[in-house]
Structure formats: structure tokens, C-alpha cells
Symmetry: C2
Subunit: 155 residues, 2 copies
Amino acid sequence: MVYRAHMTNDELMDLAIKEAVIAKEAGEVPIGAVIEIDGRIIASRHNQREALHDPTAHAEILVLQDAAKLEQNWRLEKATLIVTLEPCPMCAGAIWASRVNKVIWGAPNIEAGSLGTLYNFGVDPRLNHQTEIIGGIKSSECSKLISDFFEVNRQ
Amino acid sequence: MVYRAHMTNDELMDLAIKEAVIAKEAGEVPIGAVIEIDGRIIASRHNQREALHDPTAHAEILVLQDAAKLEQNWRLEKATLIVTLEPCPMCAGAIWASRVNKVIWGAPNIEAGSLGTLYNFGVDPRLNHQTEIIGGIKSSECSKLISDFFEVNRQ
């Protein structure tokens, strides 16, 4: 039997923030994500859109791909995904498509947030899967990482 | 100078349908997609969710990844994406994230369509990119491919 870990939401977010810092050091928009299943962190990724020339290489997509490969199953019904920024439409859609159980996000995504801000795919009763959403964990820290990055790297 | 091809929407959809048939033969939900840039079809993929154990391996995500790799750029501002089924939230989100110029879809997606049915990310003025949407091209043929598949392979 696998016992669930006793990590707090803040401790889980610290792991995602560590990944975001790796992205920053690589010159990528600093967003990080991890996936927990049965109390274990099984995957950990950061945004790599520029390095991979891949519009889908957001932290959430990469970490879902890693987790599904490890599980040998595209259905991640026991997974909690922790991410430093509220997911965009693509990533919130991927969370729905992967049947993720729960999402914990850090900073709100004012421009494209799709688990609370512009849309909330987690609670749309028309979709065939719902996801528990916890938003705003370590929000200031997650948000400052991104705003500091854009102050230095104007896009 | 590259001249734009003179393919009709029906002819473009035939290419996506060919990909969908390849998916069917592999036991995958039969959905296919192609990308046209400057009159050339530069990428062509089908749904491979089961084979790759990847929740994100929808035809649209795979074809966007291929096209961006070929272009060495995640911004696909000159691309037209042709797909046999109206994209789900993840794929419609990926189309937004890739700055795709135009989408031509075949059958409406009653359960999760996000370029017209449940949502329409193509025309949301709050998002920082809009996409021209043409829906319903060869709709019956695209739809029949999928319904025939589910009649044989109950999920």
C-alpha cells in the first residue's frame, strides 16, 4: 500500500517554483509544474517553448506527457497537478483530456487563465470530467517570478 | 515567391480524412489533421492517444508540433489547420497558443467542441489572438468515420 504524502499545498508549490526557476535560467518564461500521484512526485517540468520551438511545450503539457508515459496510461485520474501559473486554454484543456483529479495553481493568469479567470473547464458540467481546483497558492511569489522576467526580457 | 495552392476546402478536408482513416486502421479514434502554409501541406498527422499513452496526442497537437519544428518557430501565423473534428478545449487552446491564422473543421464536436460548439476561442476578444474558423466541411463523412468507429469499439 502506498501512503499519501503529507506535503502541504505550499510545499508542493515550492517544488513547482523550483522548476520555474530552472526555466528562468534557460531564458524561458518561468513557469513550472509537478505531478503527484499516490503521495509521490512522479514528474516535474518547466516551460520550454523557445528551446523546443514547440507552441505546446508549456510546463503542464510536458509534465502530463511524462506522467502518462510513466503510468503507461493517458488517464491520470489519481493525479494532482501543481503549477505556478493558472493554466491557459490549451493546458486547462489538456488537464481535462487527461482526467486529472485536482489542480493547484499559484498566480492567476489575467490574460488567458482557464481554470477560474477567463474560463473554468474544471467545473463545466457539459464536459465529461470535472477537476477540483485550488488557486492562489504562493501567488505573489509565482507572479513576481514572471513579472520580473518580463521586465528584463520585453517581448 | 511561393504561390498559394488552389485547393478547395473540400480537397483540403480529403487530406485530413485520409489521416483519420490511418488512425482507424491503427485502432485509434479516427481523427486526422493537416497544416497548410503558403500553399503547401507541410504536416499531416492522426490521433495516436492509445499508441503513445499520451493524453495530448490528438491529431491537432501532433500536427502543430511537426509544423513548428519544421518552421523552427512556435508562432504559426501563416498556417491553416484542417481537422476532421471540431477541436476540443486542449486543441483549440493549442491553436490559440500557436497563433494559427485559420482553422477548417469537419464534424461538429457536440461533447467538447471549442471552436464553435461549447466555446469559441477563435473569436474571444479577451484572448490576444483571433483565428478565422470555417466549420462543417464534409461534416457527414467526418462524423460517420467516428460514429462507425465507436459502434465497433465501445469505450
